[in-house]
Each structure stands twice: as C-alpha cells, then as structure tokens.
C-alpha cells in the first residue's frame, strides 16, 4: 500500500473502508508508521513506538471484526506532545521533559482512545506551546510539507504538518493564542479551537491556563465534527471545564447534534443555504501588514459565502491591536507560574552538578528551558512583580474585558459569525526573524483576541500565495462564533467546503 490516507482522504471514507474490511486497522497503522519513517525529514514526530501503536490497532481490529466499531475505530491519529500519554514520552518539546513519561493519559487522549482511535505517536511542537513557527523545540524545527524551507506554523506545527503530509488522518493540537488555527492555515488543513471550557485541560501541559484549549486538526470541517464531538465534554478533573454549553449539558454528542441541526437548516435551502447568515468582517483585520495574497484569498472566499446566500456586514473590533500586548502580558504571567514546577526536584531534567538546593533548581531550569520559554518566564515574572502588577497584569486584564465586550457587541448586535484572515502572510521561511524573536509575536494579531475572549474559532483552507522560495503556500480563512457555537461554525465551514476544493489539495501534488 502506498498511502491509504490518500486513497481514503476523509474520516468517513477511511472508516467505511475499515468497516467493510477493505483494509485492517493493523495494515493501516503499519502503512502510517512506514510513511512517518519515510517522511522523517519533516521532523513531525518526536516519539514513535510501533509496538504500542500496533497493539492499539489489533484491539481496534478485534472491535471491527466483532462489528462493534464506531466511526473513529482504528483511525490513525497523533497527539501534540503537550498532551500527556501513558507509554509515549510527554516532552512539551523541551529538554526539561525530554525523557518524561506520564503515569496517566490526558482526558483528550483518553477520550479519543476510548472512541477507538489508534495513536501513532507524539508530535513535535514549540517548547511548552510557546511559539508560532515550531522553531522552538529541543527536537529541532518541523518543516512545512508544502515547502520544507518554510515553517508549518506553531505551536501545533507538527500536528498540522502531519495531517497535511497524510501521515495521520487527524491530530490533536492546543491553542493558547492561535496555535491550532495558525498552523492549520499555514499547512492548508482544517482546525478548530473550541470555546474555553468545552474540552478538558486535564493532562494538557499548561502554558497559559486561562487561554489554553485543545482542538483537533484534520482535512475537513466534516472530519472535525467527528473528532471534536468525542473530545468535548465536562471533566470533573478540570475546574474550568464547562458543565453546560448554553442550556445543553457539555457531553459527547453535543457537537454532532448542533452540527446536524445547523446543517439540515442550511440544506433546506439548496440554492442559498446560508441565506440569513450575517458574516461580520472586522475592518481591523484588513489593515497594514496584511499581504495582498492573503487579502485577495479572503476576499474571494467571502464572495463565495455571499454566493451561498450569506450577508456581509462591516464590523469593528477596535481593540484588535491591543490584543497583542494584553496577550503577551497575561500568557507569560500564567506561564511563569505554571512552569515553576519544573525544578529538577521530583522529575524532569536535573543538572549534573550543583552546589546547593537553590543552585540545583537554577541550573536545572537554565539547562532545561530554551530561549523562548525563558523569555516568557522572565516577562511573566516581571509583570507580576510588586510595583508592576497594577501597571501590567491588571491593565492587561482590563484590556481583556474590553476585548470580550468588543466581540460580544459584534456577535450579539451585528453578525452571527466573524470572518477574516488567520495570518497576515503565508508561512515564513524557517530562517526568518532569527535575530528578532518578538517580530513573530506581531503576526499573531488576528488570532489572540479569540483566546482572550474564550470564543470558538476555526481555520479552513481558502487559497494559496507564493512563499519566500516561490512555491505556493496555503492560506487560511478564520471563522469565529459566539460561545459554544462550534456545531454551527463547522456547519458553515462545511457549506464552503462543499463548493470549494482547497481542503482537498494535497501537499506535493499541486
């Protein structure tokens, strides 16, 4: 078999092939393991254990043979390495946790495993999810399958790359400031960040606790429905997990039900399925810094939505620019505290030589953390310090509330969804911004506000533009909804994907 995932490029096609025994979960897993090995130059996987994977595949085959499989049984997926896993190492892309193995599975890992998915291994990422190019990893950078000199985005860069390269059918990612949507956009795949609290954070190695949210990456909105449907649900091990989503219990089945309801509503009007849908287009997303290629692709996509019957509304999110300073105060503040547990005392890297306890902790952290992590810990420590807390942390929290208000004003008064670019440009060259580490931060402008507000948002492919090397690189369209509107967002995206084929383009085959 050359690549089963190219033959069966969607969850439904692959699932059907497994159910009809056109191939076994074991054969599929072996095929994926072979592709992962063949594509090792992408540096997407940081830990593969064939025995563990094949063991899960055999269990899936047993279920399928007995006719007890479901839609996800036997499907090959992989986890961003900020989800802890029993068996596979859980490193967060850091020297600090390079050899760490967790005694428990993250809730998300457990849910997907319980649904029958087969884990192919752990995916590279920016260290502790801090970065937007997958450049800050102890395992080295991951490459973009569309152009290996370009970044795949980050911090879930390898999750997007692995899906784009057809190494797995889907992958998990985490999104603190855009880390699912941005790599999805730059690698031409679909990804969703759910409402804060929809998916459990238990077992996700924390970066910015009030912002972190797990989400899946896959080839289409339809595939995301199946994944997010089992990933979301209330978890009593996470106190910030939502018990209810609006009036509905936060439980598996919710996403599927809401998607179906929205989708059948849209389908009832075959010519103009999205008639009545108001799409807010924030003017702040189209200002200075947005490249012509991205602006053009977004414009074409918006026209496509208008053809589907949607109405375009000009809106304003006036605090968009301020989301950058707000985010780069709040996220580092939380990170500085979250990462203080890595001290070399109980687990993780401990320096080989030290003079006393304090020196042991200092050296272990100096050796264990990379430069981007240290940068953010220092910023976070600074903004929480006595005398600076009010000026930075409290001020950022005030900004955060204003950003929430901006989104609420737009989504309750002017529009049903918001659309715009995910990134100002296509994927940058890996070498870009090497001497100016904070330059990357400015490119997060369109994604940060959503995390600060806790809203759901997704990215779907909507075109291509030339990268630094001249090769065409994917462009993503961002779709933002109100709290717990994931089902409807996915249904809107699905309408677009039924009339476009950007999501079906395969890296290396354009």
């Amino acid at each position: 078999m050359s690549n089963a995932l190219k033959l069966y490029p969607s969850i439904s096609a692959l699932s059907q092939a497994l159910a009809q025994h056109q191939l076994s979960a074991t054969e599929l897993a072996q095929d994926c393991l072979a592709n992962i090995a063949a594509q090792s130059a992408l540096n997407a996987f940081v830990h593969v254990d064939a025995a563990l994977t094949l063991d899960q595949a055999r269990q899936a085959d047993a279920l399928l043979a007995a006719g007890n499989g479901n839609i996800l049984t036997g499907l090959p997926i992989a986890h961003k390495d900020v989800f802890v896993t029993q068996g596979w190492r859980s490193t967060a892309g850091s020297n600090m946790l390079k050899h760490y193995i967790s005694p428990f599975d993250a809730t998300v890992v457990h849910q997907l495993r319980a649904a029958g998915c087969v884990t192919l291994g752990k995916l590279n990422c920016d260290e502790f999810a801090m970065g937007s190019g997958n450049k800050h990893s102890v395992f080295g950078p991951t490459h973009n399958p569309w152009d290996t000199t370009a970044v795949p985005g980050g911090s879930s860069g390898a999750s997007a790359a692995a899906v784009a390269a057809k190494l797995v059918i889907a992958a998990t990612g985490t999104d603190t400031g855009g880390s699912v949507r941005q790599p999805a956009a730059l690698c031409g795949v679909s990804g969703i960040k759910p409402t804060y609290g929809a998916v459990s954070r238990y077992g996700m190695i924390a970066y910015g606790s009030s912002l972190d949210q797990a989400g899946p990456l896959a080839s289409s909105a339809l595939d995301l429905v199946d994944l997010l449907d089992v990933m979301s649900g209330f978890d009593n091990k996470d106190s910030t997990s939502a018990e209810h989503c609006k009036d509905v219990p936060n439980a598996p089945g919710r996403i599927r039900a809401e998607f179906n309801r929205a989708d059948s509503g849209f389908s009832s009007n075959a010519n103009q399925p999205l008639k009545g849908l108001r799409i807010g287009v924030p003017k702040e997303f189209f200002g200075e810094g947005l490249s012509n290629d991205v602006a053009h692709a977004i414009e074409v996509a918006l026209q496509q939505f208008e053809k589907l019957g949607a109405q375009r509304v000009d809106i304003s999110l006036p605090r968009t620019e301020l989301s950058i300073p707000a985010y780069y105060v709040i996220a580092p503040a939380e990170a500085s505290s979250n990462l203080s547990r890595y001290d070399g005392v109980r687990y993780g890297h401990r320096s080989a030589s030290y003079s006393d306890l304090e020196d042991m902790t200092a050296r272990s952290r100096a050796e264990g953390f990379g430069s981007e992590v240290k940068r953010r810990i220092l910023i976070g420590t600074y903004v929480l310090s006595h005398g600076y807390y009010d000026a930075y942390y409290l001020q950022a929290q005030r900004l955060r509330r204003m950003i929430v208000d901006d989104f609420q004003a737009a989504l309750t008064q002017h529009c049903d969804v918001i659309m715009g670019p995910v990134t100002p440009t296509v994927a940058q060259a890996i070498e870009q911004n090497h001497n100016d580490p904070t330059a990357d931060w400015l490119a997060d402008i369109y994604t940060l506000g959503l995390n600060l507000a806790g809203l759901p948002g997704m990215s779907i492919p909507c075109g291509f533009g030339p990268g630094a090397s001249g090769k065409p690189l994917p462009i993503g369209l961002q779709i933002i909804g109100n709290y717990f509107d994931e089902g409807r967002l996915l249904a809107v995206a699905h309408q677009f994907q039924q009339v476009t084929d950007w999501h079906q383009r395969v890296a290396g085959q354009t």
């Binding site: 989800f83 802890v84 859980s90 967060a92 946790l97 760490y100 967790s102 005694p103 428990f104 993250a106 954070r201 238990y202 077992g203 996700m204 190695i205 924390a206 910015g208 606790s209 009030s210 009593n236 091990k237 996470d238 106190s239 910030t240 503040a333 939380e334 500085s336 505290s337 203080s340 547990r341 001290d343 005392v345 109980r346 687990y347 306890l357 304090e358 902790t361 420590t381 929480l384 310090s385 006595h386 807390y389 942390y393």
Partner: protein
Amino acid sequence: MAWEIVIGLETHTQLSTQTKIFSGSSTRYGALPNTQANAVDLALPGSLPVMNRAAVERAIRLGLAVGATIAPRSIFARKNYFYPDSPKNYQISQFEIPVVQGGSISFFVGDQEKTINLTRAHLEEDAGKSMHDDFIGPHGESSTGIDLNRAGTPLLEIVSEPEMRSAAEAVAYAKALHSLVMWLGICDGNMQEGSFRIDANVSVRPVGQEAFGTRCEIKNVNSFKFLERAIQYEVRRQIELIEDGGRVVQETRLYDSDRDETRSMRSKEDSHDYRYFPDPDLPPLVIAQDWIESVRQTMPELPTALRARFIAEFGLTPVDAAQLSISRALAAYFESVNATLPSGQAKLVANWIMGEVSATLNREEKDITESPVSAAALAALLTRIIDGTISNKIARDVFASMWAGELGGNPDAIIEAKGLTQISDSGAISAMVDAVLADHPAIVAEYRAGKQKAFNSLVGQIMKAAKGKANPQQVNDLLKAKLDS
C-alpha cells in the same frame, strides 16, 4: 518608660477532611513518606486542582461560629516562591478576597471577659516536609528527603486583629480558638502533629502612643506554653533593644524552646515577592446562601450560647460557665451530672467538676473523655453529699477511691466498706459535744470572752473525736446552742 505590648496571632488550622484540599489523596497523619501523594500533589505535568467542598464547609462553620461574613465569592490566588517541599513552587491560597471576613472571639482572662476581633480566615494548602536530619540518600550519603504526604492538606489560616495586650491574653485567645475549632469539629487540634500552628506578631509601643511599633513575626509555635514564653522573650528583647537606643527591625523569627529565645530567620529585606495573582485553574469560590443555611443546620450549640444558658438556667457565674464550656465534652459531662440531681445543685456540680475532677485530670494529663469517673458515678457521689450521708470532705476521699477504681468505682460500696457514713444522730453528736466542752474549759472560756476563733477550734476537736464523720451542720448548731445557752 512604660510599654504597651501589641500582639496579633495568625493560626494555621489543619481542617479535618478525609482528603486533601485540591486532590483525592488521604490526609491521614503518619503514613510512610510519599504514599499519600498523587499526580496533583506531586504537581505532575497536566495535573489540575479541584476544590474539596468539605474544606469549604469547615470554613463556613468557623465563619458562622465567630459571626463573620462568609464571602459569597472568594478568590484563590497563587503565592509564588521556590521551595522543594512546595511541589508546584506556588501555594494556592486566598489573598485579596478571603472566604471568611471579620468576626470575633470572646473568652476569659482570669475573671475578665475579653473580645478579640478577627481580620479574616482564608483557605490554603499545606506544604510537604523536608527531611534534613534523618534522611540517608541512595548511596548512604547524608541528604535531604522530601515527604509530600502533607502537601495539599487543607489549612484555614485564622488572622486576628492586633488587639492582645499581654502574653497571657494571647495564650487565652489561642486556647479559646483551639477549643472552638475542636468544638466545631473542623480540626483535631493535635498540636504535636502540627494540626494547630500559631504565628505571633509582636510589637511594643510607649503607653499612650497610637502608632504601632515595628513588629516581628514569631513562626510556628506549637504549644501554648511556648507561645507564652516566646512572646515574653520577644517583648523583653524589643524593649531592651529600644531602651538601649536600638531599633526593632521587621523580620521573621523562630522560637527555640531549648534555649528559650527567639532568633532571626529572615528580615523584611530578603522577604519574597510572592507575585500573587488569581489562580486561573480555579474559578471563584461561590458560596450561595442556601449552602450557608444547610451548614448552619448542622452547627452544634456554640460555646457563647451555652455559657449564656448555663448562667440563665443554672445560675452559674460567668467565669464558671466559661470554664465548663471549654469543650463540648466537658459541658456535656456537666449537663449529664446535673440532670441526675435535684434542681438547685448546679453550683455544687460546677465546683466539683472544676475542682476535684479537673485537678485530677490535669494531674494525670487526661481529657474529660478519659475520666475513669463517669458522669453517672459522680452524680451518685454528689447525691450522698446532698442527702447528708457524707460530708464534702469525706466525699473527696471517696472520689479518690472511685478514681482508683476501688470496688468498681461505686461510691455507695466504698462508703459502706470504709464505714464513712456521716453521723447524723443528734444524741450521739450531742454526747460528743458535751465531752469536748468538758475536756476544754480554757477554750470555752476564750469563746465566752468573745474570741470567735475559739468556736472553730472546738468544732475541730469535735470532728477529730468523730473521725470526720459527724454532720458538720449539726455539730455547728448543737455547739452553738450549748455554748450560748
């Protein structure tokens, strides 16, 4: 110069929950190191805290007992500092908005009632323990071990206003608080095991000066005796320092009980910047009124209410009432004895419990629950005083025999066996009085000359002749009648 002492106490009360404040690990004391530490307690990557409602309920109980405001919404904050027995390197505590706000505690210092206001009480997690002394590393080297069994044990830190003015007051407050938390069943009160740890903030100022002097905080005092000594030492140190032209430096000090002194631990200059901020892993703690009401339903009668009832119902003095309500067990013992006796005997019961019973318990370092003389047995003994079978004095001997378990601790059996029954036969007593009067004409003459003391001397002679068994009232009456006739 005359100095005024200013003391405020911060008390770390370990709450008596089955499991830890943010994890499901057991809080049992004394288990093998690190056998009660799970992923959350070890701060493993990906672990998250979940609030234990039983700890909140205990905080509500204290709040209700001291008449405090229970915050409808309080915030958990992270107190950031690196220390190896603090696994996350931050402590989850409450900073700006604590769960219990205000309130007060009343108690007696001698016969003076005193009320101390509370600033606040907040929930937080305990740290683990570093084992520096008795830990040997894997290669036989001396090393530091860490036991995280205690990490995450729920604490309620109860902070008083700086309203105490002497070491004795501070100790009385601490004892009242200690008995209150046990009364409420929110803490086992075991000071040896660290369930009730006191930090004292001590300063001095010239009498009449309004501004507080610079304070020092004495950490982790684990007995009332040490608390008193530590404060006394610290007050002396500060006054001597100032009178010698020096200046008190704000610092944290440790009390060394072996040397009976406090020593500097760290000064304000090297104090941590804790970088408090709201814990993003825990939503605000919301306590709805109906939760407070449901806790109120389970509250025992409070010591202050019980005191008022003892005064109104039994005519006890406030001091007696306060002493009898030092613990729920003692109050119950008193009520139980009292219930068996005819009304109007409460003073006798109170005197016996605070006298003979308490003295014997103290001498043997026992608690009322461990008393070998049950409430029923004491009631049987007191019944024999009331019906005149024995005198109060003889009853003390009988009590000692009961305590020792003689004859099954049965007072009647002891009185019978030892022939202690009081002589109440007026003929027999009259004969004894006549004999003593005949034998001591000189004392009789003194009495007749107006010396009242001579009367007591004659009573003593008669009781001696009666081997203490004559009814004292009858002796008094008959003697007086015969002398004055």
